[in-house]
């Protein structure tokens, strides 16, 4: 894609949102995950702290498990799904996303959860404890497969535990700034320090780099010239 106009901040949401950055990891990582997913009979949890890549992992893993029937946020609004990456075979998937600000009364679309379908719940820990237990029991009774993301160990078997290393963070930043000649290279030490300062939360690290970029950015004027 080509574009004109003022340069975009390489750390803006449109570039760093889950699924926008290529997954950084071993080539056969997803094959291994799918094998383990099958061993666990399709009921498992992805564990990791804030900003460790859980939602990003789902963007790449879920299409390998089947076809997304519907994808909604906690308020029941439909969310865009990357059709190009959407799987055509395998399970039929209902994908829900909860956030810290999500209402506690989030409705699970049970009408859509027929036996052998898969419920993907991103942000499982946002549910109250009794709702978590009820969700696990009810999906098990219905024969619904379940994949959740959580900050802590759950009552489900763990599919994988995620954390961001300095090397991974380096690769993510390099991807985002690869074609930016207008932006000074961010050093390894700075990335490492940011990662430590934010307890491994890559989302926060990228937000700090967003602010740094804005500090240094020259602003365009209406007639197309640049000014600081």
């Amino acid at each position: 894609m080509s574009a004109s106009g003022p340069p975009s901040n390489p750390f803006a949401t449109r570039f760093v949102a889950p699924g926008q950055v290529d997954w950084v990891g071993p080539n056969d990582y997803f094959e291994q995950l799918v094998v383990r997913w099958n061993v666990l009979k399709g009921r498992a949890a992805i564990i990791g702290a804030h900003g460790s890549g859980k939602s990003t992992l789902l963007e790449y893993l879920v299409p390998l498990l089947g076809q997304v029937l519907l994808r909604r946020d906690a308020e029941g609004r439909s969310m865009l799904h990357n059709v190009e990456r959407s799987g055509q075979a395998g399970l039929q998937i209902v994908w829900l996303q909860l956030r810290r600000t999500s209402p506690a009364s989030m409705v699970i679309p049970w009408d859509e959860l027929h036996p052998s379908r898969l419920l993907v719940l991103d942000g499982y820990e946002q549910l109250r404890l009794w709702r978590r237990a009820a969700l696990i029991a009810r999906t098990a009774l219905r024969g619904v497969k379940l994949l959740v993301t959580s900050h802590r160990i759950t009552m489900l078997p763990t599919l994988c535990e995620l954390s961001i290393s300095a090397a991974t963070a380096r690769q993510i930043v390099s991807q985002l700034t690869a074609e930016r000649t207008d932006f000074a290279t961010i050093g390894d030490d700075e990335i490492r320090q940011q990662l430590v300062a934010h307890d491994g939360n890559m989302r926060e690290v990228l937000m700090d780099f967003y602010d740094q970029f804005e500090e240094k950015r020259t602003l365009p004027s209406n007639n197309g010239a640049s000014q600081s």
Binding site: M1, S2, A3, S4, G5, P6, S8, N9, A12, T13, R14, M207, Y210, D211, E214, L219, P220, S221, N222, N223, G224
Partner: protein
């Protein structure tokens, strides 16, 4: 893709005029073209988008004249939202062309412009 106004800034209610042509594309490969005049937000938080003008042009209409011959489109610009260059949020207007090819590939190009006097965070 080329804006035909002399300045990249246009006032609300003004007419946006632009033209486009396609070079080095084989007509038999073209499925359809989408032309949009749109705004989108960019920044640290959730994103939003608004489509002011949308045209879908099928392969028959597209290939009726040579692809490299410029085609002109005009549209009246709305009163809002005005372009904004903030630190946390930017509102950007653009003309976007998305060319869909038979083989499933998609080529996209944008040309940005400002609606109203550019407002900035200081």
């Amino acid at each position: 893709l080329r804006l035909l106004s002399l300045q990249p800034g246009l006032e609300p209610g003004e007419t946006l005029e632009f033209e486009y042509a396609m070079n080095r594309v084989e007509p038999r490969l073209v499925d359809h073209l989408e032309v949009s005049v749109m705004w989108y937000t960019e920044g640290k938080g959730s994103e939003d988008i608004g489509i002011h003008l949308f045209q879908r042009i099928g392969s028959e209409a597209l290939t009726a004249v040579p692809l490299d011959q410029p085609r002109r489109i005009t549209c009246l610009l709305p009163a809002s939202p005005l372009s904004f260059e903030g630190r946390l949020l930017k509102i950007r207007w653009c003309v976007r062309l998305r060319l869909f090819l038979n083989e499933g590939r998609e080529l996209t190009t944008d040309k940005q412009f400002y609606l109203g006097h550019l407002t900035r965070d200081l």
